[in-house]
């Protein structure tokens, strides 16, 4: 299974390792992780981003043939924002939705999606947490976040992509429905996860 050469190499690295082991101790023993983002945040944001992308992708595939571009991705954006705060809403919601665009073959939309869904998550996360996260705050958060998303898409499509008001406005009603459905599902999900998995770190 193991060649002689490999075991020799091992003993050599063992020997060289013990020398520099002590010299490098200082930095290794710093508890702050050398200024990187804490590992739980890296892992959680990575997983939430994957979930956002997967939900967008899976539901897009299921609805695309019949109902055009409609998906449940917004529910994950609102879930991230309500369960883990505005930062998660902006980053996981924005990046996750943008990744889904790239993987769905609409990469040119990714930067605008990042802006639109990122601002949606950010605004929903900030407002939804006001007043101790009351029902009214959640409703206001979904409305304000959703408005951000719809308006950002509209402006980007008209002024940056130059697709004309026709196509841009044609997309808007679908986006509004997504916000209403996604906002409801996202709020319920945040509530569900807090109840079922209290140690998840959800706020």
């Amino acid at each position: 299974m193991l060649s002689r050469a490999a075991s020799l190499r091992w003993s050599r690295t063992m020997a060289s390792g013990t020398e520099n082991e002590e010299a490098l101790d200082d930095e290794l023993d710093q508890p702050d992780g050398a200024g990187f983002v804490p590992p739980i945040i890296v892992a959680r944001y990575g997983v939430l981003t994957a979930l956002t992308a997967a939900v967008t992708f899976a539901t897009f595939i299921y609805f695309a043939p019949t109902k055009g571009y409609f998906n449940m991705g917004d529910s994950m954006v609102f879930f991230c924002a309500f369960a883990f705060g505005w930062r998660a809403g902006a980053i996981c919601g924005g990046v996750g939705s943008a990744v889904a665009d790239v993987l769905l073959g609409a990469g040119f939309f990714a930067p605008y999606t990042f802006l639109a869904k990122g601002s949606e998550g950010l605004v929903a996360g900030v407002i939804g947490r006001l007043n101790g996260g009351s029902k009214l705050a959640k409703v206001l958060g979904v409305s304000a976040g959703g408005t951000c998303m719809v308006v950002t898409y509209l402006l980007c499509e008209v002024f940056l992509l130059n697709v004309g008001w026709g196509a841009a406005l044609a997309e808007a009603p679908g986006n509004v429905i997504q916000v209403i459905v996604g906002g409801t599902v996202g709020t319920l999900l945040a509530w569900y996860v807090k109840r079922v998995y209290p140690s998840s770190g959800a706020l």
Partner: protein, 289 residues
């Protein structure tokens, strides 16, 4: 010789919990030993493992009382990153530990974090993959490997940091019987070739008994037995009380001991069993009128 780990009156309690996860634990092991940590679901096995690589209490908040040393270092005063170079950790589910997009990056991840020069990382990746029998898998995607291969990749990823201890928390969980035998053969090899200390936490003792030098039986966070496997496992009542299913051969051994008190020694391997039974038959035959 330095002790691999040494716990003295160690007590671990998680915040918000009424009972300590580990209670007054005093055990240790020498370097080069293979230790089986046996216990049921809430016996404290995972806490034990995570204490050894400093995740408890440095990352998972917990109160730790008593003494807890790994290779002469107090785990409470050593960073997890530092301990990672001494203690390789393998958790239960391989899929939750493989996060890179290729096998070689997975193995290189630890050494990269330790800022080891590139040339040596390459050597270590080759070595670690060869040690676990995954040579040539460098560019493969970890998610496309079989369960057994994933488990070996996790071990390789720990080995590349050149640890002196390898701690495995229920490594056989996701493996089929053949995969388990492969895993045990690999662990034995690692001890023989590199004198590594290996600590394995398991819920049942069936295939493990032959492999290990020592068994530590945990029950509700306390050590209830500690000694050579033939001794610990032949006390079937204690093993069963700890919520662990004993190996069938240990069951046989204890049955014979009950039936012929003082006439047999405890056994755990089929070879020893054969010898003991042959002796019994011989003495029984010669004693017959």
């Amino acid at each position: 010789m330095m002790r691999a780990f040494e716990l003295t009156k160690t007590k671990v309690r998680y915040p918000g919990s009424d009972f300590p996860a580990l209670d007054d634990v005093s055990v240790g092991a020498d370097e080069g030993e293979i230790v089986l940590l046996l216990g049921s679901n809430n016996a404290g096995k995972s806490t034990f493992c995570r204490l050894l690589n400093g995740l408890v209490p440095n990352s998972i908040p917990a109160q730790v009382g008593g003494k807890a040393e790994v290779l002469g270092r107090d785990v409470r005063r050593t960073s997890v990153a530092r301990l990672a170079t001494l203690v390789g950790m393998v958790f239960q589910e391989p899929d939750n530990q493989l996060f890179c997009m290729s096998v070689e990056e997975e193995v290189a991840f630890g050494p990269e974090n330790l800022a080891i020069p590139r040339a040596e990382i390459i050597a270590r990746v080759e070595w670690a993959l060869e040690a676990v029998g995954l040579s040539g898998y460098n560019a493969r995607s970890p998610s496309n490997l079989s369960g057994g291969e994933k488990q070996r990749l996790v071990i390789a990823a720990a080995l590349s940091m050149r640890p002196r201890l390898l701690v495995l928390d229920e490594p056989a969980y996701a493996l089929d019987p053949a995969g388990r035998l492969d895993l045990y053969a690999l662990l034995r090899l690692l001890r023989e070739r590199y004198g590594m200390t290996i600590i394995i936490a398991e819920r049942d003792a069936e295939e493990m008994a032959e492999l290990c030098d020592r068994v530590i039986l945990l029950r509700n966070g306390r050590v209830v037995a500690d000694g050579p496997p033939s001794e610990v496992l032949s006390d079937i009542d204690e093993v069963v009380a700890a919520g662990v299913s004993p190996p069938q051969i240990a069951h046989l051994s204890s049955l014979l001991a009950d039936r012929f008190p003082g006439k047999t020694r405890p056994f755990l391997t089929t070879d020893d069993a054969e010898k003991e039974i042959a002796d019994l038959v011989r003495t029984a035959g010669s004693g017959a009128p």
